[in-house]
């Protein structure tokens, strides 16, 4: 009889760090880490030293000083005596506005074009192929400039609306298309307008509740309630009733020619339109390809099975194909949203005052604090990108295949 005993643990020798596969990878990673830290600290020290040689330092004091310049598109009150910080904040909001509008429009265009690329209709299919290839293969900056230039050159100046026989006239007397942008009526929020808004929000909740109820009823009892017109009725009838009962508290402020420009109304500037539209059609082309790939990833058997159950083509798309395709579509679309947001920094090409234009443009120029402003800009874009991908990842988790 012999007892099996464990071999005595081998004592650790230094050579094992390189020769033993258990430790080798750690060794090299550690060396790489040390080298990286040395490089970073060398570069950092070099920067501080060079700045000191030039008699400069890193300081964010300029953010509290008056900016001194004006910004045309101001989502929040701002005037030229406000601080650089506030100017930067106006820029941040402008970036978010164009990024939000762009992502929304790009998604709509992309889904539409992606589905249409798989259409049975030859013309539709080829047209969408041309759209996708034309837009994603030309740099987005070029598209921004093309749209802006065409707009300034092709649209009439506000001057053309003047006189007894004007060369241009407003659409429906409410909307003016000029080479400085589009002027649309703006709502005036009168007394009691909040009630109307609240009723409308309640109606939205009501409509959603009705649709849920109808679905549940369908699943439980098989009874199919009409969906379309009752939802619309719930949405608009109470709101319109309240609106007229309260004596029309919300009115419209129409743009009118005043001095050099149109006054009143809402001015959607040409720079915003050009940037928004260019980013949307450019990113939309990429999203279309993602959508097409997602739909094609759903096995054809699924479609055939659904068809053999008697589902109509639109229901097959909405109930069978798209829910499964979304799992493939969402992750690449997240990165398209990030691209769009970052591409919005091309705004300065058309004079749209986003954060790169205010903080990274005029403030940088007037204060000469290049490193500080660029650091802030990097921080902002990093934060906004992480936020977008955070939200979209949460959505992706909600719709992905639940594995139990």
């Amino acid at each position: 009889m012999s007892a099996i005993t464990d071999p005595p643990p081998k004592s650790f020798r230094l050579s094992m760090l390189v020769n033993d596969t258990r430790y080798r990878s750690y060794t090299f990673q550690f060396i790489a880490l040390v080298l990286l830290i040395m490089l970073v600290s060398y570069l950092g020290a070099n920067l501080v030293q060079n700045l000191a040689d030039q008699g400069q330092n890193i300081s964010y004091g300029f953010l509290g000083e008056p900016a001194g310049y004006d910004i045309n598109q101001r989502p929040i009150p701002y005037e030229n005596q406000d601080t650089h910080m506030r100017a930067a904040f106006v820029g941040v909001l402008n970036t978010l506005i164009v990024a939000f509008l762009g992502c929304l429009t790009a998604t709509i265009i992309g889904v539409f074009a992606g589905v249409a690329r798989l259409s049975q209709n030859w013309i539709v299919r080829k047209l969408m192929a041309i759209y996708v290839e034309a837009f994603r293969n030309v740099p987005v900056l070029i598209w921004i400039l093309i749209i802006y230039t065409v707009m300034t050159a092709a649209m009439p100046a506000p001057n053309a609306f003047r006189g007894d026989t004007p060369a241009a006239s407003m659409v429906l007397d409410a909307v003016a298309f000029t080479n400085r942008g589009v002027y649309v009526p703006a709502p005036i929020w009168g007394e009691g307008s909040m009630i109307v808004v609240l009723v409308f929000l309640a109606s939205i909740a009501g409509a959603i509740y009705y649709r849920r109820y109808a679905t549940k009823l369908l699943y439980d009892t098989g009874r199919l309630l009409p969906m379309g017109w009752p939802s619309l009725a719930i949405l608009f009838v109470p709101t319109l009733l309240i609106f007229f009962i309260l004596g029309q508290p919300i009115s419209l402020d129409y743009p009118v020619l005043k001095g050099f420009n149109f006054g009143g109304g809402l001015h959607i500037r040409g720079s915003l339109i050009a940037l928004w539209f260019a980013l949307a059609v450019y990113t939309g082309a990429f999203i279309a390809e993602n959508v097409r790939a997602g739909i094609q990833a759903v096995s054809h058997g699924q479609t055939e099975a659904a068809a053999s159950l008697g589902l109509r083509p639109s229901r097959i798309m909405n109930l069978v194909v798209l829910p499964q395709a979304l799992r493939v579509i969402i992750p690449p679309v997240i990165s398209q949203y990030l691209n769009l947001t970052k591409n919005s920094s091309l705004a300065i090409a058309v004079g749209y005052m986003d954060v790169t234009g205010t903080l990274g443009g005029i403030t940088l120029n007037q204060t000469g604090r290049a490193i500080e402003t660029i650091l802030l800009l990097m921080l902002f874009y990093l934060a906004i990108s992480l936020a977008i991908s955070g939200v979209m990842n949460a959505y992706n988790n909600a719709i992905k295949l639940k594995e139990r």
Partner: protein, 338 residues
């Protein structure tokens, strides 16, 4: 990883700044040419001609400096810079000097660490507007859309002017003068504002210059001049005294036509000192004795440069005004060469 990229960018900026220190004159001599920052194109001041040769009033200053150093006005390379990139280009050492309609201000001189080497054009900010709008004064511009080059002092002056007069405007920021032209001519802005000299130069390039007026208000002081990095005083002296030599030459009647004649010696000791036949001023600067002769021969004295590029007989048609010699009631006044 993100951190690495971050510091990488920082360092690139830092390294570039570090290389830009001290002894620019030696560096320039060693590489054999002068790197001069100019505008991206402002006819009369700095713009490439039909042959691609840079020419203009600011370019003339660069050529004079190159001639003073090398005796050769063509030993200069030009870097076009926008209002936004000019200071980074100079601070990073990409260019040795900047001769680019740049306004001398306190914060640029003190805070941005540059050194202005005098004034080659006394300017002020004005407005240009199409004649058919019937505007006669800048104070009537309430509500107007104004095109403006971003990253310039004009942006701040404009804000101040409208604030002071309690009228409103809509700024349309643009990047370069060419873009401004296009927007203005398309009617995307009612008025275009920049230095009055710049307006005159821009108007000269229009198809129908007479359809546009420059409003009488000059809303700011814009002393434009060449500048170099702060801290290298020997190099700053070379640029400063080359400019002064051009100004003094006009005052003393030295022109590109007679400079060779006068360099043989005259009975005016100041001319002799300037042209190096007496004393050793050139040596003190670290240059050859005939530095000023070469600088004047490059494009003529200050008055000749002015008349050739922007004077009343050119399409730009600027009068001397403030830019006349002090003896003629202007502001040009070179310290003595002694």
């Amino acid at each position: 990883m993100k951190k690495t990229v971050f510091f990488g960018a920082l360092t690139a900026a830092g390294l570039a700044a570090g290389m830009a220190s001290a002894a620019t004159l030696d560096d320039v001599k060693a590489k054999g040419f002068l790197q001069c920052g100019v505008t991206t194109g402002l006819v009369g001041f700095a713009a490439p001609d039909a042959n691609g040769e840079w020419t203009g009033f600011d370019v003339g200053v660069c050529r004079a400096v190159a001639a003073a150093i090398f005796g050769d006005p063509t030993a200069v390379k030009f870097t076009p810079t926008t209002g936004k990139t000019r200071f980074t280009a100079l601070a990073s050492g990409e260019v040795d000097m900047l001769a680019r309609n740049t306004t001398w201000t306190f914060s640029r001189d003190v805070d941005l660490k540059f050194e202005f080497n005098g004034v080659n054009y006394y300017d002020g900010q004005g407005f240009m507007i199409p004649k058919n709008l019937g505007v006669t004064s800048a104070k009537e511009l309430d509500g107007a859309t104004v095109c403006i080059q971003t990253g310039t002092t004009t942006e701040l002056n404009l804000a101040d002017f409208f604030r002071k007069n309690n009228i409103s405007y809509e700024p349309v920021p643009i990047e370069t003068n060419a873009e401004g032209n296009q927007q203005y001519l398309a009617g995307a802005c009612d008025a275009y504002t920049t230095d009055a000299s710049g307006l005159a130069s821009t108007r000269a390039t229009f198809e129908n210059p007479q359809d546009h007026v420059i409003l009488p208000e000059i809303i700011s002081k814009e002393p434009l001049g060449p500048l170099v990095r702060h801290g290298d005083h020997e190099w700053g002296d070379v640029v400063r005294w080359t400019l002064n030599a051009l100004i003094a030459a006009e005052e003393l009647g030295v022109t590109s036509a007679n400079v060779d004649e006068l360099a043989k010696g005259t009975n005016n000791p100041e001319v002799n000192r300037l042209l190096g036949t007496e004393g050793n001023l050139g040596e003190m600067l670290g240059l050859s004795g005939d530095w000023a002769v070469n600088a004047i021969k490059a494009g003529g004295n200050y008055g000749e440069l002015f008349e050739t590029h922007i004077g009343e007989n050119t399409p730009i048609g600027l009068a001397r005004g403030l830019n006349a010699q002090w003896t003629d009631g202007g502001l040009l006044y070179s310290p003595p060469f002694r």
